[in-house]
């Protein structure tokens, strides 16, 4: 058993729902109790979908358990088929139904429906949402294309249908994804400039008929390895269809992506490379951005967004990556590899308390994370931008805001820089500490919220009567706050408070580290400034 307060991922059947809800002509009969219908609101409220997810729940009750729950499943499948007439039916069980082992797949098979039936086995006590999405997508593609697989030793003949340009499929976008809708548009545009046509986008807005056509494209673009890696590997093995490994988030990665696609398709990368027109590089080189230099950032999210964000942070924003992690154990290897490049310890954890501890210890100035890290950052009085699922209604902006491709790079620049205190403002805060209208507690002046920082969270703590919140501005005890036996003398503690809050954590950490190294056990004002001189602005 594991004590969980907030989770990064839902159960695997929610992943299956993300696949089927993104599609057309599919219906999912889920053997599940009534409470599991909450999952509908993820799609209708968070993503603002105008249709119910194509899911029928059996909603069995305790009184059914002694009797015939299998019969309830059979009725639900029959009724759902009659009502929705899907082209493909998916059946499966949620965590509770998994325990009673009614075998919905077998029951569906016995009904001999005139459409393909995909039976899902998603072990709810071992696996999670992203795995469930990947497995569902794989099972569907497999079921719908296996009849086209070449015999051993034979080559697969692609149906070109007179297409003159090379074609690719875009694999991975689902319902409830982080900016999937806009990423599809952006990547499609970029490929078009390269002279490449998109054959099938899936699962997003595809039908079972579209899935049948997947093997006909020349290659697959894996947009989101979380959901498409499994199926892409199978397609490569079965239909000799190569796939991309680079996720085109950021200018550098987008260039790498163009080169990779060109190589897979044996075409000239130049038109694609020259199509990468983005303001981002110049915005980043512009002198107003110098204040971004070596800002400490902590990156956490799903593996592909986190790896991409860390690269953009380091190579395109000039930040210092001080932490990198993911909640997806399945992709731990990718994070470890990237962490090595950035010289940080990889964090592989789906326990948000552990993530919070790591963020606090790293004392970043900016957190690039999920909605969970947004809350953690708020509590720690650090700025945050969201780069990855799990999603929130705010992650579905009305405007076009992809993460991928040239426009995606613009979006990253704006959304990451926006929460930060502007360069000159930063200096002014440092200069005039005691201005009653211009205190560091009010947050950046260009953000109307005014309570980005600790002031807001402290109030929140009082109002809710929740745990004492650890915020930088809460008066701290004079003695032995640091690790080991280091003590902050009163005057030094006061001096520390004069440092703007967004660098205070860093200053505290550096000073303590310096004191420890120097064998000093009481931090005076002098020690504080000696540490400052030693570390500079790092």
């Amino acid at each position: 058993m594991k004590l969980t307060v907030w989770t990064y991922e839902g159960p695997p059947h929610v992943g299956a729902m993300r696949v089927v809800t993104g599609m057309k002509g599919v219906h999912y009969v889920l053997h599940a109790p009534q409470g599991d219908t909450y999952a509908d609101l993820l799609f209708t409220m968070i993503e603002r979908r105008d249709h119910r997810p194509p899911v029928t729940y059996t909603t069995f009750q305790a009184r059914d358990l002694g009797g015939d729950t299998a019969n309830i499943v059979t009725t639900a499948i029959t009724d759902a088929y009659e009502r929705f007439k899907p082209d493909t039916l998916i059946v499966g069980a949620s965590c509770t139904a998994e325990l009673i082992q009614d075998n919905p797949g077998g029951l569906a098979e016995r009904l001999d429906l005139p459409v393909p039936v995909v039976s899902l086995e998603l072990p709810a006590y071992q696996r999670k949402e992203n795995w469930g999405a990947a497995e569902t997508f794989y099972q569907m593609v497999r079921t719908l294309t296996l009849h086209r697989a070449p015999e051993r030793g034979e080559t697969f003949e692609r149906q070109r249908d007179g297409a003159s340009r090379p074609t690719v499929n875009l694999l991975g976008p689902t319902a409830l994804g982080f900016r999937h809708r806009d990423d599809v548009t952006e990547v499609t545009r970029l490929l078009d400039r390269m002279g490449v046509d998109v054959s099938v986008v899936a699962p997003w807005e595809s039908s079972p008929h579209d899935l049948v056509r997947i093997p006909d494209a020349d290659a697959n673009v894996v947009m989101y390895p979380e959901t498409a890696d499994t199926v892409a590997r199978w397609l490569e093995r079965t239909f000799d269809q190569p796939y991309t490994k680079v996720v085109p988030i950021g200018i550098g990665a987008t260039r790498d992506f163009v080169n990779e696609v060109a190589e897979l398709l044996d075409i000239d990368p130049e038109p694609g490379l020259s199509a990468i027109q983005s303001n981002m590089p110049w915005w980043s080189k512009s002198i107003d951005s110098t204040y971004l230099t070596a800002k400490r950032v902590f990156v956490f999210g799903d593996a592909s967004h986190a790896v991409a964000a860390a690269r953009v942070a380091a190579e395109e924003m000039g930040f210092e990556v001080v932490g990198l992690g993911t909640y997806q154990r399945e992709f731990a290897r990718d994070i470890r590899k990237a962490a090595k490049v950035h010289g940080v310890e990889p964090l592989i954890s789906d326990d948000h308390l552990e993530v919070e501890e790591a963020i606090e210890a790293a004392a970043p100035e900016l957190v690039l994370g999920t909605q969970m890290e947004r809350h953690i950052a708020k509590r720690l009085g650090v700025f945050c931008a969201v780069i990855s699922a799990p999603v929130h209604v705010q992650d579905f902006p009305a405007r076009y805001s992809p993460q991928m491709g040239p426009e995606g790079a613009n979006v990253l620049f704006d959304t990451w820089v926006h929460p930060l205190v502007m360069g000159l403002e930063e200096h002014l805060l440092g200069l005039f500490q005691d201005d009653f209208e211009f205190t560091d507690g009010v947050g950046p002046s260009h953000l109307h919220t005014g309570t980005v920082s600790h002031a807001g969270t402290a109030q929140e703590g009082q109002a809710t009567g929740e745990d004492t919140l650890r915020t930088p501005d809460v008066p701290e005890p004079v003695v032995a706050r640091a690790s080991g036996d280091i003590e902050w003398l009163d005057a030094a503690e006061k001096e520390l408070k004069r440092i703007p809050f967004f660098v205070r954590g860093k200053a505290r950490r550096n000073t303590e580290k310096y004191a420890l190294e120097q064998g000093v056990d009481a931090i005076s004002v002098d020690v504080l400034y000696e540490a400052k001189a030693h570390y500079g602005n790092r």
């Binding site: 058993m1 004590l3 009534q34 409470g35 909450y38 209708t44 009750q61 325990l99 006590y125 929740e466």
Partner: protein, 426 residues
């Protein structure tokens, strides 16, 4: 004002009820924790369940109440089910870790879920065992909020019911009033002021702020139900000697007045005293409701089953706001406790108990009501079909009881229509 309430000429007591058994589109009882954990500030709600339970709580909370909440899930894992770990030991370990982090907790509710019920994990024994380890500083109680046994608000009923055996025995048999069902503090204070004014007391609330200072119960305890879903709790209190005062629920001016009068009558307080106390608040309520009545009068409304608050809500909508009831769904109809409400509803109201959501949607689409009250999973899809909706969970999460909230309650129903009038997309 001593005359009994003007009943509908014939009530809905004998109205046929459409009983449906199909897909239910409702929350399970775990969601009650969302308000119970804010009410009882020294208690922690530990769901023994799956990742789905944890995800539900997170999603239903909508905006995550991100300061560490006083609820969490002990997520059952494969190794627990495969017998590689002793589930009781695991639970003890999780509770130990929790209490080490939060030593201020006074009560821990072990909350059963669908999976824990299916595998028949004995939370009664667990709670006794844990009391042995951590008692008497921390008390353990247990109830099931599973979706195979409870619907949405029934979770609160199960929780309060689990507390009844711990209620101290009342000294003597002098009457006191016990108001059962979570109310917002502002509402409690308003009710207390009126009861005080008419000389009715002492008044206690279940649940209160503390999970340890529980109200006494016994001969002389008289109960008013504040919420329509505390059926089992009331029955258990009755078996401990308490007496239920039958009354409509305190929604709207009419419901609130009837609710207060029912108690006053039982106390033998004369009508003039009550008249004096309710006159002002009632007039204010009518003023506050008037402009919403203007907008809602004659409009049709369809209520999907959600909280069990649908009948009293429908009574309020039809009698005080003049709306036309198309269908009133309820997840569960407890006739004994709904008697007063049924008497007030007209005879031609279509009541539906249980649910077959696809069929109910068919009926709703066919009727095209001016307003549909439904859960969040259905609201946007119906809006997209051109229907105006009020998502029902807001009715549970907002203080709506009492005179001073009658206008707010009316406004909740008027807001979608108001919005429709304001928006000009052709």
């Amino acid at each position: 004002m001593s005359t009994p309430l003007p009943m509908a000429e014939a009530g809905a007591c004998d109205a046929p009820v459409l009983k449906e058994r199909g897909q239910h589109e409702v929350f399970c009882g775990l969601t009650g924790i969302l308000w119970l954990h804010r009410k009882m500030q020294d208690a922690f709600f530990l769901i023994v369940g799956s990742r789905t339970c944890a995800h539900l709580m997170q999603s239903a909370a909508g905006v995550m109440i991100f300061a560490q909440p006083r609820f969490g899930t002990a997520v059952i894992e494969e190794k627990d089910l495969a017998g590689m770990a002793d589930m009781n030991e695991e639970l003890d370990r999780v509770v130990g870790r929790l209490l080490a982090r939060r030593p201020e907790l006074k009560t821990v509710f072990l909350v059963g879920s669908c999976p824990s019920e299916v595998i028949k994990l004995d939370l009664n024994r667990a709670s006794e065992r844990l009391t042995g380890i951590h008692g008497p500083d921390v008390r353990f109680a247990h109830y099931s909020g599973s979706g195979i046994e409870t619907t949405f608000t029934q979770g609160e009923d199960a929780c309060l019911n689990s507390l009844v055996p711990s209620l101290p025995k009342k000294d003597g048999d002098t009457p006191d009033l016990l108001v059962v069902g979570t109310l917002a503090e502002v509402v409690e204070q308003q009710m207390l002021r009126i009861f005080d004014q008419i000389g009715l007391g002492p008044v206690r609330f279940l649940p209160g702020k503390s999970s340890r200072e529980l109200p006494p119960v016994g001969e002389g305890t008289r109960i008013l139900m504040a919420q329509p879903w505390v059926d089992e709790t009331v029955r258990s209190l009755q078996s401990r000697g308490a007496e239920l005062i039958p009354a409509p629920f305190p929604y709207g001016a009419e419901g609130t007045e009837a609710w207060i009068r029912a108690a006053a009558r039982r106390w033998g307080i004369d009508d003039a005293t009550v008249d004096e106390a309710v006159e002002g608040p009632r007039a204010r309520a009518h003023t506050a409701m008037a402009r919403h009545r203007e907008a809602l009068e004659g409009k049709s409304v369809f209520l999907f089953p959600d909280s069990q608050g649908e009948l009293p809500m429908a009574r309020f909508l039809s009698r005080e706001l003049g709306m036309r009831l198309v269908e009133v769904g309820t997840p569960h109809l407890d006739r004994a406790h709904m008697q007063a409400e049924l008497e007030l509803l007209g005879p031609d109201v279509r009541l539906a108990e249980g649910q077959d959501v696809d069929k109910q949607l068919d009926r709703c689409r066919a009727e095209r009501p001016d307003l549909t009250v439904c859960g969040m999973g259905l609201a946007n899809p119906l809006e997209a079909e051109g229907l105006r909706t009020k998502w029902s969970i807001e009715l549970v999460f907002t203080p709506v009881q009492g005179f001073e909230q009658a206008g707010d309650l009316a406004e909740l129903f008027n807001r979608p229509l108001d919005r429709q009038r304001r928006l000009r997309f052709s």
